[in-house]
């Protein structure tokens, strides 16, 4: 159980810092982390920085996180995955996940299977500061057979089977949003995944955002602030921080870039070359954007804005 006073004291008017500093301060070796978004709004820039800094032994507890997990696993940063889905949707299976689980390359990872609703309930329990939550998922399946932390009980009120899942309290949540102020009030457009619960369950939260705006701008639409300042430790402006994934209202999914990654990473050598080009070969996220090409990124923005705009 987390003591009620343990999060108090992180309030201040300016939590803005660099991506490099936020990652080195909060994503330390051996920590347990989660990421916001749901494939869209993935924290790709954060993950590139974690890899650049050579952070190891991470446990990730999350719902569906293919792109960033494939990079982290391939780069040898991951010790353990507790989650629901690691696949590229219509693009295919995840090459680095497959190599690690099937062949132990570059190193074996521990995998604990859950469903998306189970992970959602684990974060809800964390966000409510209670030790577990119940779900009607996973009953009768082999998820229960291999994952002994799921407890099936007959519920004390109606006597019917129910699955209990333990709360998650990760060390840090990284969440990419469209807009935040320097105090940490974060506004999200589009679907919100489990972000509101992840930031409450986590001991620390780092917000990366497309734009930093004034608190007055935030106050105009308080409904959009799914993450209030008191959950947040750091704010980092990282435009195009989800590329090649999408960010609602800002840029569309770069399916061709992602497809190229998938093809290149089908071999270990190809993946290492990719890392050299787009991660180690880029000093920071700005250098990554230069390499991808600003005109390409702007085309993705143009495409997205034919369909979705944020209305502030």
């Amino acid at each position: 159980m987390m003591s009620v006073s343990s999060k108090v004291g992180s309030n201040n008017a300016n939590k803005v810092m660099s991506l490099k500093d936020a990652v080195s301060k909060y994503a330390v070796d051996g920590s347990t982390i989660c990421f916001g978004g749901f494939i869209g709004r993935d924290c790709v820039a954060v993950v590139h920085e974690i890899i650049r800094q050579g952070i190891k032994g991470l446990t990730v507890i999350d719902d569906s996180k293919t792109d960033i997990m494939d990079l982290l696993v391939g780069a040898g940063c991951i010790k353990r995955w507790e989650g629901a889905y690691l696949g590229y949707g219509a693009i295919g299976l995840a090459p680095n996940i497959r190599r690690a689980v099937e062949k132990g390359v570059p190193q074996p990872i521990e995998v604990e299977d859950w469903s998306n609703a189970a992970i959602s309930m684990r974060y809800l329990a964390g966000a409510l500061n209670i030790p577990f939550m119940a779900t009607r998922s996973m009953l009768g399946s082999d998820i229960l057979k291999y994952n002994k932390r799921i407890k099936v009980i007959n519920d004390p009120y109606e006597g019917k089977p129910l699955a209990l899942v333990p709360a998650v309290r990760p060390d840090v949540a990284f969440i990419h949003v469209q807009r935040a102020d320097a105090m940490g009030n974060a506004q999200v457009w589009g679907f919100t995944g489990n972000d509101e619960n992840k930031v409450r369950a986590a001991k620390h939260t780092v917000i990366t955002c497309e734009e930093i705006v004034s608190p007055e701008e935030i106050r105009r639409n308080g409904n959009l602030t799914i993450i209030p300042f008191y959950c947040v430790d750091a704010v980092v402006q990282v435009p195009y921080g989800c590329h090649p994934q999408s960010c609602y209202g800002y840029y569309a999914y770069d399916v061709l870039f992602c497809g190229e990654y998938h093809k290149t990473s089908s071999t270990r050598e190809g993946f290492l070359k990719w890392l050299d080009t787009y991660v180690f070969g880029c000093e920071d996220h700005n250098a990554y954007c230069n390499k991808v090409g600003w005109s390409r990124l702007q085309k993705l923005t143009y495409l997205e804005r034919q369909f979705n705009r944020i209305h502030a």
Partner: protein
Amino acid sequence: MDGRNYTPAEMMAIMTCKEFKDWENVFVGIGIPLVAGILAKRFHAPHLSLVYESGSIGPEKMRVDFNVGDSSAADYALSLSSEWHVFGDLQCGFYDVGVLGAAQIDRYGNLNTTAIFGEGDYYKPKVRLPGSGGGNDIGSSVGRVVVMMKLERHRFVEKVDYLTTPGFLDGTPGARERAGLLGDGPSAVVTDKALFYFDSETREMYLDTIYPGVKIDDVKASVGWDLKISKDLKTAPFPTEAELNALRTADPANLIMGGARERDNLSGIDEYVKITLENAYRKEI
């Protein structure tokens, strides 16, 4: 007018779309299931509402998604919500039908999307697959499940290596209810060669409809158990030109239906943006 020039994947999408009824709420996955949902909305089910586990409810589909978390999954949605709320709504019974794919299925419609390991070890699988995602949740609680997969012997197996998503479990009466599951379980299995339904008594999958040009023996040879065949076996009609046109407009670069190799046919991002915008489905909203 019918169309005689189509791919098995296109036929699978068209047959799936017929499983949806107007005004239903359908929990879709990515890929061909989504294309089937889009298609249904343009024909017999204009009021079909799509729901995505990322939290998007009732989007107007003007372009295809490559995963359920694309920003496109939220295009003009009626409600943009959260993942845990959508799963709560699923348990509350708001969603009529879910569409799932799988690597393996057995005669009772139990699905494997986690790992292929045969008699071997789950921890050291031959092929690690994505995992449940929301598949188990949908299969546990949605009204009914439509399964979409290629009809192949290594997929239609006597026993799944790992039971990710429950169908009718061991097929005994009341098996789902005893386990604590809410939904009614699988209602149809749509493949690239034939359509299967489930017997209401035995809960066993049977061949209901065969597609034009497919032989019964081919279907039987692609199933790893002694397949039962409907006494009233039907043959599906050819897709219409209108259906095929709608399908091809919905996926204009053929990246979903055609798969990875189609990406190489695009000259680059400019062509991708151009094709997407030219074919964007816009109705007055």
